[in-house]
């Protein structure tokens, strides 16, 4: 059951990812990306990693996608020629890049054995849940957490100063 679900989700993720790059309309690409992100989130959920799944939806499907759509609308890409690489070596470069990528993937897969010849070690109970992450963030990582909040606050103040004409 779990296996079938995982395969279905994977097919959906890969299919919608292909659609992201094959669509001519950038807004359709963005919408396909939403489907990719949701299917990835569900895949994470089926692996028992609820926190990552939720973050995936909130951060990527929520915030990042809104940003993408904004950029697409502001730049008004629809009426332009799609981005084109020019130059003599672009086919050679492209083939070389694909070859390097395939080599990398096959090397990594053969190093661990395809589909993991070595069974993965069982995770400790409660690993990756919101409870465990929250506990860790507010105990072991509380100092970096607070440092990050100072950083974000300062960046926000700075963005306001730099972006606003008159304060």
């Amino acid at each position: 059951m779990n296996q079938i679900g995982f395969v279905l989700l994977s097919v959906l993720a890969v299919g919608s990812a292909l659609s992201v790059i094959l669509q001519r309309n950038p807004v359709m690409s963005a919408l396909s990306l939403v489907v990719t992100i949701f299917s990835l989130a569900l895949a994470f959920l089926s692996l028992g990693s609820s926190f990552v799944a939720v973050v995936q939806v909130i951060v990527y499907a929520g915030a990042v996608m809104v940003l993408f759509v904004f950029v697409i609308m502001l730049l008004d890409l629809g009426r332009r020629e799609p981005f084109k690489l020019t130059g003599v070596g672009r086919k050679i470069l492209g083939i070389a890049a694909v070859a390097a990528f395939l080599f990398q993937i096959s090397a990594s897969l053969s190093a661990v054995g395809v589909m993991g010849a070595r069974p993965p070690e069982p995770l400790p109970p409660g690993y990756g849940t919101a409870l465990a992450i929250g506990r860790s963030v507010f105990t072991d990582y509380v100092y970096p957490f607070e440092a990050a909040s100072v950083l974000l606050l300062a960046a926000m103040v700075g963005a306001l100063i730099l972006a606003k004409r008159r304060i």
């Binding site: 105990t139 100092y143 970096p144 700075g158 730099l162």
Partner: protein, 494 residues
């Protein structure tokens, strides 16, 4: 390990009082900025109070022993305490400088002062980080906030260009550093500096990964201290930024960067050997740093020779000084680290002094060009005299503080029997005399426009110059107490 006591979370809070007070002052400053009528003065007062409280609390930590706080994320030890004190002292002085600066006044905003405090807090994080998560967050905090400060005069095209260069170089340096950190994490399974050191010593880390990690982390730290080859941003940013920010960048990120260098390389990539320290797993980073040090001071000094803009000249001069300070680290000895700390403190006074003269006179000078200093010796007697003292001190001429600093640095290098580096350093000091004296020559010997009449320095700047000249002279004659204090702050490491 060097006997760090691990404190629990509740007890840890007591060890970060300087940072807490500074952060509280920052938040208060933001609120005061919204409600106060005389916003700039009020915000500056809050920020100054924060700096003074931070300075006092940091000095109080000097004798507090050493402990790991917040689950090993940071350390509370005398080395961190002394660097925090330097950071707060410099931040307070720069906040005072900025009060009368026309460049800051024009933009007329209070946020400027509160962001100074944020950089100071980030510098404190840098000086005390014991975990790569903190190393990265602290450097980002300092970089991002410094960049906002540089860009703060946003109508000034040069400042915007400088800010863009600063953030691009910073992003690249951070990227390289975090890549190095990720390699080290992958190979060691830990982000704590002491854990990385243990793993390196045990030999479980593949050689190439260790070398790449150690070199890549240097990119992030080298960017902060403006060491060659990560110094390219320095001249443009120094020239384009408002002068008080240039003064700030020349000391606060630099002091914190050296603190981080000591911590990451000695505790993270080094191991204790009897009374001293050595590179872990025969990774020869001390030699690498020796070469970086020699290149940094040579390129800095050669670059400064032909500059006509004083701020650009000071940028190359600060690159050269970063090279001198690195020289102390290469020795990996107590005398070497002691020399670094002494030099950073001395450098604070003399370098801020030069900028104080520049800011104090900025209303009356045509430009930042050295040519506009012509004939200043007759028109502004005290500022010209103070400038001469600072410049001679930067050269390292006795009996000024710069000589004390250089004396300690050279003694440490010769002590460690790295003679070639000492010779390179000595030759570089001779070269530096040429361009510092060019400014003095312009002030006293070359004739300038005489119709300008005498220049009266604002009282604030006269007081500041006195406050900076006195330590520059006194520490050149009577440095015992300072050297004693810095040495005591390093005792826990050796």
């Amino acid at each position: 390990m060097t006997g760090y006591a691990q404190l629990d979370l509740a007890a840890s809070v007591g060890q970060i009082l300087p940072e807490l007070v500074a952060t509280a002052a920052f938040l208060l400053a933001v609120v005061v900025d919204l409600v106060s009528r005389r916003r700039k003065e009020a915000v500056c007062a809050v920020v100054l109070a924060g700096c003074i409280a931070g300075l006092v609390l940091s000095l109080a930590q000097l004798k507090a022993g050493q402990s790991l706080i917040f689950a090993g994320m940071a350390a509370a030890d005398p080395l961190a305490a002394i660097l925090k004190a330097v950071v707060f002292l410099a931040t307070g002085l720069v906040a005072l400088f900025s009060l009368g600066s026309p460049e800051i006044r024009m933009s007329g905003r209070g946020e400027y002062y509160s962001l100074l405090l944020v950089v100071a807090v980030g510098a404190c994080f840098m000086a005390s980080a014991m975990n790569f998560v903190m190393v990265y967050l602290a450097t980002e905090l300092v970089t991002v906030t410094s960049c906002i400060l540089v860009a703060h005069a946003k109508d000034d095209r040069r400042a915007s260009e400088a800010a863009l260069k600063y953030i691009l170089f910073g992003a690249a340096a951070s990227g390289v550093m975090i890549y190095g950190i990720s390699l080290l994490y992958g190979a060691t399974g830990t982000l704590s500096l002491t854990g990385v050191s243990r793993a390196l010593v045990s030999g479980q880390v593949p050689g190439l990964v260790a070398v790449l990690g150690v070199v890549f982390v240097l990119a992030g730290i080298g960017y902060k201290i403006a060491a060659v080859p990560f110094h390219f941003w320095c001249p443009d940013v120094y020239e384009g930024a408002p002068t008080p920010i240039t003064a700030f960048l020349s000391i606060v990120p630099e002091a914190a960067g050296f603190g981080l260098l000591i911590r990451v390389y000695m505790l993270g990539f080094g191991e204790r050997m009897g009374q001293g320290w050595a590179a872990a797993a025969s990774l020869d980073w001390p030699s690498l740093l020796a070469v970086v040090s020699a290149l940094t001071m040579t390129l800095g000094n050669l670059g400064a020779l032909h500059q006509t803009n004083l701020k650009r000249l000071m940028a190359y001069s600060s690159i050269a000084h970063a090279g001198y300070i690195l020289m102390g680290f290469v020795a990996l000895s107590k005398t070497g680290l002691n020399a670094m700390i002494i030099y950073i403190i001395v450098y604070l006074f003399m370098n801020l002094g030069v900028f104080a003269v520049l800011i104090g006179l900025s209303r009356r000078l045509a430009s930042d060009q050295i040519a506009s200093f012509r004939g200043l010796g007759g028109r502004a007697k005290f500022p010209a005299f103070a400038m001469t003292v600072f410049l001679f001190s930067l050269t390292g001429i006795p009996p000024l503080a710069g000589f004390t600093g250089k004396f300690y640095l050279f003694a440490a290098v010769i002590d460690a029997k790295i003679y070639w580096l000492a010779i390179v350093g000595a030759l570089n000091s001779v070269v530096s005399l040429y361009y510092y004296v060019r400014i003095i020559k312009a002030m006293y010997i070359e004739a300038g426009e005489t119709e300008g009449g005498p220049i009266q320095l604002p009282a604030l700047y006269t007081a500041l110059l006195v406050a900076l000249v006195v330590p520059t002279v006194v520490l050149g004659i009577f440095w015992g107490p300072l050297a004693g204090m810095t040495e005591a702050s390093l005792r826990f490491l050796f």
